[in-house]
């Protein structure tokens, strides 16, 4: 056997490519200094939008994105990211493992949400008379929340026609994200995880490690069915 293989036989780049952040002690995001420009003049949500789109948002896009991120952030213990992270905490997993559990589940939750609204996202880009079923709020269970979203946006002088079409809360939030420049599935998923991770983590970190007796073991109850 030789001491070389396919890896040695190829030419490879010698350096790792950075597309967003400059290395070094004065980091820049897409060219803007974080420490002497962005940190002084922009919201964190503006910086997230900048990171994901490559450009600083307009005043209205930044405001709409911030509102959408607020609405998206509230992931309760009822939802899998916080629930799974809380279980990791009960198991006395390290804080990093609890956070990683929340992050993985939040990323899966975001993927599921975005994939499930593919037809809606395409509809926004190219509307037709009929709203895709995945976006329709029937019965109108999300109307109040969407109304609050519309009011928040309206207070900033922002309105999106899609939000008045009787759509679900999730469809409305995806529409706002897309309107602020997040066009791709990847961008949308990244923004949603950014919004949800802190609160999912916070909920989990309030749980006492090894508090096994306080956890509802039978919620839901798994009923075993032998199939062999």
């Amino acid at each position: 056997m030789t001491a070389t293989g396919p890896i040695e036989a190829q030419e490879w780049p010698e350096r790792l490519t950075a597309h967003v952040v400059t290395p070094g002690d004065d980091p820049r995001v897409h060219g803007y200094s974080i420490e002497s420009d962005l940190a002084r003049n922009y919201r964190t949500t503006d910086a997230i939008l900048l990171a994901l789109t490559g450009e600083l948002p307009s005043e209205s896009d930044g405001a709409a994105f911030e509102i959408a991120m607020h609405f998206l952030s509230a992931t309760s213990i009822a939802e899998a990211p916080a629930h799974a992270a809380a279980l990791a905490r009960i198991c006395a997993a390290t804080t990093s493992a609890v956070l990683a559990t929340a992050a993985i589940c939040a990323a899966e939750q975001a993927r599921f949400l975005v994939e499930g609204h593919d037809a809606w996202l395409r509809w926004i880009a190219s509307p037709t008379p009929e709203i895709p079923e995945c976006a329709r709020d029937t019965p109108l269970v999300h109307r109040d929340s969407v109304t609050r979203l519309v009011e928040c946006l309206s207070a900033k002088g922002i309105s999106f026609r899609e939000l008045t079409l009787g759509i679900t809360r999730e469809a409305a939030l995806l529409a706002v994200l897309q309107r602020t420049g997040l066009r791709s599935s990847e961008q949308l998923q990244a923004a949603i995880v950014s919004a949800r991770l802190p609160i999912a983590a916070a909920e989990a970190l309030r749980v006492a490690p090894t508090s096994f007796r306080e956890y509802p073991m039978r919620l839901p109850d798994f009923v075993y069915e032998a199939d062999q």
Binding site: P23, F222, V223, D227
Partner: protein, 265 residues
Amino acid sequence: MKKLELATRVCRAGWDEHEYRGLRLFRDLAGKETLTGMFGLAVTGVRLSPELRGFLDDLSTVVGPPDPRIWPPKTTRLASAYGRALPAVAVGALVFESRDVGPMTCKDAADFFMALSDVVGDQLGDSAVVEAATLELLTRFKRVAGFGVHFRPVDERLVALRKCIERRGLDKGRYWLLFDGAAAAIRKAKRIEPNFASAISAVMLDLGVMPDKLGLLVFAIVQHVQMANCVEGAEQAPEILRRLPDEYIEYVGAPPRRSPRFDGV
């Protein structure tokens, strides 16, 4: 409140015995089943045949290589750079949530062979039919998982696995023969060699594994490929992987610029 329930066919914990996949864990499995068999039971829900178990054992030895310079193992080196192995195991698993790299590609390859089997029907012995059917399906599938070998002329893992398959007499099955026929057709038409994912898929289809279980079963068997790097990575916890020196980074993004709100400080 209405009681919330879900069905499970995995397990029910008892006092002194546990039901698992329709079996009794201690009575039926303890001291009797192998690690490979337990992985198979976990993924497929049924006990593996000795033939499939043996094939998976062979597979576990030819998979890889876990050279830490290769992309998937490298992720575990980065995740373990802070001194813990288990986060790297999780990262090493997630990197395979991919339809282009790793065990999950076997599902797509299996789908191709099942479609090929339908088209070929009872004319498996006619190489011209297999060739024509393969080429027809290539247009339908656009990209066939399990074909294409990066940076080397042939997949050395497939060469090694083929010997194991022949040694076990698993080279007579319908899907294996379809694999061989398709490989010849694709080699002739596209000059593309098969990689071992397509061979794995063919043998496992012959051994009765359904495509939707195939990728996870292969993943379960080959986890050790990532594990070695998780362990050594955590032991080394090297500074240079936590942060590469700046001179090894090439920035190609937007040039330095000032925002409209920049106040000149």
